[in-house]
């Protein structure tokens, strides 16, 4: 197994902590990757190689998992806003919320703003159809969202640190 060149000692320390918490076997892969994604943003090639080496699996398997799950992909911004695009939310006005968000953010879906603060994504059902249109801001849910709410949200996120 290749030992990847790793300069990021904080990453190594966090990985050790995650392996201690979730166990150092294959079934810990998703929670470990989710933890790295949360603390360090985008899961880098070096991080994937390191995880693979620690779990004793081929790096390509880690890549396969990262690219399969939408919450493990991406991550270049401090905050992720996920706007539900599925039926109940669409019926309730999600397209208007989305249009306003895109204008406020000034970056296309999936791309971080130039200040690195926010990335917006259109996602499928987040299970809050009784409060449509709804969205997720990092780990929180925001219900019955209006376009004005969306604009205010972006403004406040620009001033906030990455959630821990």
């Amino acid at each position: 197994m290749l030992t990847p060149p790793v300069a990021d000692l904080a990453l190594v320390a966090d990985l050790d902590a995650l392996l201690a918490e979730h166990g150092a076997d294959r079934s810990a892969l998703l929670p470990v990757l989710a933890g790295l994604r949360r603390r360090h943003g985008e899961i880098s090639d070096a991080a994937m190689q390191l995880v693979a080496a620690r779990l004793g699996i081929p790096p390509v398997e880690v890549l396969g998992v990262v690219t399969f799950y939408s919450f493990l992909r991406g991550g270049s911004a401090r905050h992720v806003v996920r706007v539900c695009r599925t039926l109940a939310c669409e019926l309730a006005g999600a397209p208007d919320v989305w249009a306003r968000l895109e204008r406020e953010v000034g970056a296309p879906a999936g791309e971080a703003t130039s200040d690195g603060a926010v990335v917006v994504e259109r996602v499928h059902c987040i299970g809050r159809c009784d409060h449509a249109p709804a969205l997720l801001v990092d780990d929180r849910a925001l219900d019955d969202v209006t376009p004005a709410d969306a604009a205010a949200l972006v403004a406040s996120l620009r001033g906030e640190a990455r959630p821990t």
Partner: protein, 395 residues
């Protein structure tokens, strides 16, 4: 949280179901579940007691068996499990414990979708309290150790399919397995595994607490017990409703304030579109079977928008493993867009119908098999909305 009708579950006392279970041998607990007639509340409707019996009787080479709670509630329009986990987590965790006792498992896993991460801390609190009360952990009963872990998903609709969920729990891509063997025989880490929906575990607790006769007295002969329904869309009062199975669709619409509806998508993206002329049909395994999603479509909706939204959903969420689903979902989306643009001949529509039938027959898992349902039901009931060219005969 919106719960719109009084829930029977609210009246089930925490602890009563587990006490009742532990007072009898495991096989009798399975018998009680069989006697209740309960079928799985996630949508597929497999008899719960039979599932437990199969897992209890399956050969476990290293003695290990697992109980898995499917809290990967990703079906569009479904949110009852979110409400249950927020308001009645104890009943869900207790149902898992009862299942563990019944099948001889020591370990339970609750697979929580990433979109519900805000529920995680309260679930962990509930688990801690149950350990402190001796309802989880070592010696829950003489010779019975059982504990539960929460395992977070990472965003993939297909993981709601039970074998894909098990792959995900093992740290892999959530690609469905070949079945058989079914999870009750070879599930998590190859061991016999019961995978049930969140709501199924909650009702299992109620069955043990109140007796199988009580449960079987509600609903219809073939569809016993109460069912939670997630109602959204063009209604005055969206929320979670509890009804006995066998309830007519019209009655649900009356309760939620949506009697002027043009149609209802029952069962979410994997369900089907029921037109107003059929609102007398019932929510039951013998008629309109569903995991409980009602997305109500008001009189002014253009239903080709529904077709396109659902087609986009499946084109995105197909895991890509088998060709009928990977290619078919994209071809159906293209078909909907061509219909909208007026670029479909009668022959094209016939081909799309055949494609849908092929996907139902040949896709590997429920995702692909159910992906044409809404499209096909819209073609059948709303040809004008779907811009079906005049002269197309049904096949």
């Amino acid at each position: 949280m919106t719960v719109r009708t009084p829930m029977t579950l609210s009246a089930v006392e925490a602890g009563a179901g587990l006490r009742a279970a532990l007072s009898r041998p495991p096989a009798e607990v399975v018998d009680q579940m069989v006697a209740s007639g309960m079928r799985g509340r996630g949508g597929a409707g497999f008899p719960t007691g039979l599932k437990w019996r199969l897992a209890a009787e399956a050969d476990a080479p290293d003695g290990r068996r697992y109980v898995v709670c499917n809290a990967d509630e990703g079906e569009p329009g479904t949110f009852k499990d979110r409400v249950l986990l927020a308001k009645h987590a104890d009943l869900v965790l207790e149902g898992m414990t009862i299942a563990g006792y019944a099948i001889g498992a020591r370990e339970g896993l609750l697979y929580l979708r990433a979109e519900y991460v805000y529920l995680r801390d309260s679930l962990l609190d509930s688990l801690r309290e149950r350990r402190e009360q001796g309802l989880l952990g070592r010696e829950v009963a003489p010779g019975f150790d059982f504990d539960i872990r929460v395992h977070m998903g990472a965003g993939a609709y297909v993981c709601g399919e039970e074998s894909a969920l098990l792959e995900s729990l093992e740290g892999r891509r959530g690609e469905p397995r070949d079945r058989p063997p079914y999870p009750v025989v070879r599930g998590l880490h190859g061991a016999p595994t019961v995978v049930n929906n969140v709501e199924t575990f909650a009702w299992a607790t109620a069955v043990l607490a109140r007796g199988p006769e009580w449960f079987a007295s509600i609903g219809t002969h073939r569809s016993t017990g109460p069912k939670l329904l997630s109602v959204s869309g063009d209604v005055a009062r969206p929320g979670v409703y509890e009804f006995p199975l066998g309830v007519p669709i019209a009655e649900v619409l009356r309760a939620a304030g949506g009697t002027d509806a043009k149609a209802v998508v029952v069962g979410g993206a994997a369900g089907s579109c029921v037109p107003a002329s059929e609102f007398g049909r019932t929510v039951s395994y013998e008629d309109v079977a569903t995991g409980g999603a009602f997305i109500v479509l008001g009189p002014d909706r253009d239903l080709i928008d529904v077709a396109e939204n659902v087609a986009e959903f499946f084109a995105d969420e197909s895991c890509g493993q088998c060709a009928p689903c990977r290619l078919g979902t994209v071809a159906l989306l293209d078909g909907v867009r061509r219909l909208r643009a007026g670029n479909c001949t009668p022959d094209d529509v016939a081909r799309l119908r055949r494609l849908g039938a092929t996907m139902r027959l040949t896709s590997k898992c429920g995702l692909g098999q159910s992906s044409p349902n809404v499209f096909l039901s819209l073609l059948e009931h709303f040809p004008a909305d779907m811009r079906v060219p005049v002269g197309t005969g049904g096949e």
